[in-house]
């Protein structure tokens, strides 16, 4: 976008074209250009595929519980990662955070003798601090978050292994079962919230659903949501138009870290031990879930509901392959194909939506608004 075109676009123009646009869009088109459309279609297709291939096992309550649980395992962190990606950044330390937070909670509880809840609270503080550090390093240095958080990822991975071995001489911290507060903590993070047909559904599914609802609400209905879109679209423009860009980005990193903590607590209480390797390698699955759900790698566009559906696609695929009795070595092949298809389909729909008729509904919007506003404010000076 050139400065000249932006300078000529006044706020009034933007507003008027927006009105025109709303009037013209057909319901179908609005559905198609929504970022989560591809993920919804994909989830339905994957569900039907396995309903056909793994029939009774897939349709059983046990089968349903297992793929929902798996999806929630991704979703506990992926929802926050999607928000961060819409805000224009990556966090490759989002996976290892599961192990780090679990380790700290377990060490504080078992080896420092604290009540488990206090240990968990301290672990959350550490997570928030690490998220803050990630965010601060990214906004201050201007380096790509990909590099900065890759560094954090490796550092934490090594630190987890080192500290755990120093304290326990093993690669696990065991013994939280006997710590104070364990029973209630397990209820909150790792029990079954409902039992249907003799099959328990894990409470992590509720956490996941809750995160989708809250995340979607924040993104679509609040000022903070607008800030996230704005900093992801064009940070400088956003800042010049009065968005607290740095605070928004740092906040997003902290939200990711806090989600990593929730994930860490779920894993810790489900397995009753922390393991140094926990969560390592998961970071890309969170990004994949967000991309399946329509998030752009460039930021400024995406959907929380879509990311939730992306998690469902991942979870259903991972559990569907063994349920259908396929060779589970095929999982990554299948995953790669789904990812490519989703990326192509998303890109194709977006391009089609942009060129099918004049009005557009996606990426440039937020930046244009911000940019126009920004340019206006500079000209005012």
């Amino acid at each position: 976008m050139t400065t000249t075109s932006a300078t000529t676009a006044t706020a009034a123009d933007v507003v008027s074209t927006t009105d025109e646009r709303l009037a013209r869009l057909s319901a179908r088109k609005r559905l198609l250009v929504r970022p989560e459309f591809g993920a919804l279609a994909g989830a339905v297709v994957v569900w039907l595929l396995f309903a056909w291939q793994a029939d009774s096992a897939w349709l059983s309550w046990q089968g349903t519980a297992t793929y929902l649980d798996r999806s929630a395992g991704y979703g506990l962190t992926a929802i926050a990662v999607a928000l961060l990606m819409i805000g224009g950044e990556f966090d490759l330390s989002a996976g290892v955070m599961t192990g780090t937070t679990g380790m700290f909670a377990a060490l504080f509880a078992v080896h420092s003798g604290l009540n488990l809840w206090l240990a968990m609270a301290l672990s959350l503080l550490i997570a928030l601090f690490l998220g803050f550090l990630n965010g601060l390093m990214v906004v201050r240095s201007g380096l790509p978050s990909f590099i900065v958080t890759l560094g954090t990822f490796f550092a934490l991975r090594g630190f987890n292994l080192w500290l755990t071995q120093q304290v326990t001489d093993k690669t696990q911290v065991t013994g939280i079962v006997d710590t104070g507060g364990h029973d209630i903590a397990r209820k909150v993070f790792a029990s079954n919230f409902v039992t249907i047909g003799g099959v328990g559904f894990r409470v992590s599914i509720l956490w996941f659903a809750g995160m989708v609802v809250v995340g979607a609400w924040v993104l679509m209905r609040t000022r903070v949501g607008n800030w996230i879109f704005a900093v992801g679209g064009n940070r400088d423009a956003a800042r010049m138009s009065g968005v607290p860009a740095n605070a928004t980005k740092i906040g997003l990193f902290m939200i990711v870290a806090a989600s990593g903590w929730v994930h860490g607590m779920v894993v810790l209480l489900q397995t009753n031990r922390s393991n140094v390797i926990e969560g390592v390698g998961q970071e890309f699955f969170f990004i994949i879930a967000a991309v399946l759900g329509g998030c752009l790698l460039t930021g400024g566009f995406g959907s929380v509901v879509g990311a939730g559906l992306g998690c469902l696609i991942l979870g259903m695929t991972q559990q569907g392959i063994p349920l259908a009795g396929w060779d589970n070595n095929l999982y990554f092949l299948f995953l790669g194909i789904i990812l490519l298809l989703a990326a192509f389909a998303n890109e194709w729909i977006r391009r089609w939506a942009r060129t099918a008729s004049r009005p557009t509904v996606d990426v440039p919007d937020t930046t244009e608004v911000a940019h126009a506003a920004a340019t206006r404010s500079t000209t005012d000076d």
Partner: protein, 354 residues
């Protein structure tokens, strides 16, 4: 407006078709692998991919289905021998066996694979238990569902609590002590233990068992972590460890994925034979090295048996209500492979059964 709608419909159809074609294609892969891949998947499952010729042959009128869930990653040669045991037994006995394992050492994912196996209501469940606390809930659910269970490979401490018929494997601490004592006997005093799968409690037990035995003999043992999926990285880690401390005179690998890089590292440094090298578990490379005198011994747990025996036990349990073991574990190891018996075992390893 009209052309608009057509485009919309066109878009939906195209996307739908793309996705469907791709999924269909993948599904074909699944079915194709059943007839050709006795090595790979024992069969298409009864409930799953539907009847291919081989599935019918393999089940031979019996409809016993056994689910096998291990932590064995596909890239680890150890587990391919285990899986061959599963496949051979399933073929000979005419049962359907479905093998699954998580892609990485991820116990939450493994627990969910057990859940998935239980959802298929099999006639038996064979499961490795490298991390009992993490798998506890899923195993309890399997037992509650009335599925006969046999634990294999790791889980000797927990099989009774799980309610398994028996455990087939070796006691890792005992095996570790055995390896450590033997190394100390052959003169190793300053040993590094190469852990290629960080987080696997069974491997920790091996190192700790060896450490106890070596310390009792007056020596010391340090653990070095490497990544089983990065042989080159493992090799350079071992090389630099050996260079940093020239006092090290013993290397204990916990599996072929650690032994291979350790062997290469010693070759590179020109210290083969000078530094004592021993490993757990064998493959062709390990056996060659033992025969050539580059390695002193390997602790063999005969994992082919860990795959083969439980299939036959569970088949008998399903058709004849037999239980094997009398509540005791069945030990498949430790046995030692040394220069004396390496040649015979080599042929068997090449056939993929040792």
């Amino acid at each position: 407006m009209r052309s608009h709608r057509l485009r919309v419909v066109g878009a939906i159809l195209t996307v739908g078709a793309l996705v469907l074609t791709a999924c269909g294609g993948d599904d074909d892969d699944g079915e194709d692998s059943a007839p050709t891949g006795v090595d790979d998947t024992t069969s298409g499952s009864g409930s799953g991919t539907g009847g291919t010729g081989d599935t019918v042959d393999l089940t031979q009128g019996s409809d016993v289905t056994i689910e096998v869930v291990t932590h064995g990653q596909a890239s680890d040669p150890f587990w391919s021998v285990f899986k061959k045991g599963v496949d051979d037994a399933a073929k000979e006995l005419g049962v359907t066996a479905n093998y699954s394992a998580p892609d990485t050492f991820d116990m939450v994912a493994m627990a969910q694979l057990i859940d998935a196996a239980v959802a298929k209501e099999p006639d038996g469940l064979i499961v490795s238990v490298p991390d009992y606390p993490a798998l506890q809930d899923s195993l309890a659910a399997a037992a509650d569902a009335g599925i006969p269970i046999i634990t294999v490979n790791s889980g000797s401490d927990n099989y009774e609590e799980i309610g398994a018929i028996t455990h087939i494997g070796q006691d890792e601490t005992v095996a570790g002590r055995g390896a450590g004592a033997r190394m100390a006997e052959e003169g190793a005093t300053n040993v590094i233990c190469i852990n290629q799968e960080v987080g696997n409690a069974g491997l920790d037990a091996r190192c700790n068992g060896a450490k106890e035995a070596i310390e009792e003999a007056g020596g010391s043992l340090e653990v070095v972590q490497v990544d089983l999926n990065d042989a080159a990285g493992a090799q350079s880690t071992i090389e630099s460890t050996l260079q940093a401390d020239t006092e090290i005179n013993g290397v204990l690998a916990l599996g072929p994925t650690g032994a291979g890089p350790a062997l290469a590292a010693l070759n590179n440094l020109g210290r083969t034979g000078e530094v004592q090298l021993a490993t757990f578990d064998i493959n062709a490379e390990v056996i060659d090295a033992i025969a050539a005198g580059d390695m002193s011994f390997a602790v063999d747990q005969q994992q082919y048996l860990q795959g083969y025996l439980p299939i036959s036990f569970l088949k008998l349990n399903s058709t004849n209500l037999n239980t094997v073991g009398g509540g005791q574990p069945i030990l498949t190891g430790p046995g030692f492979v040394t220069a004396d018996n390496a040649e015979q075992i080599k042929e068997l390893a090449e056939a993929g059964t040792r």
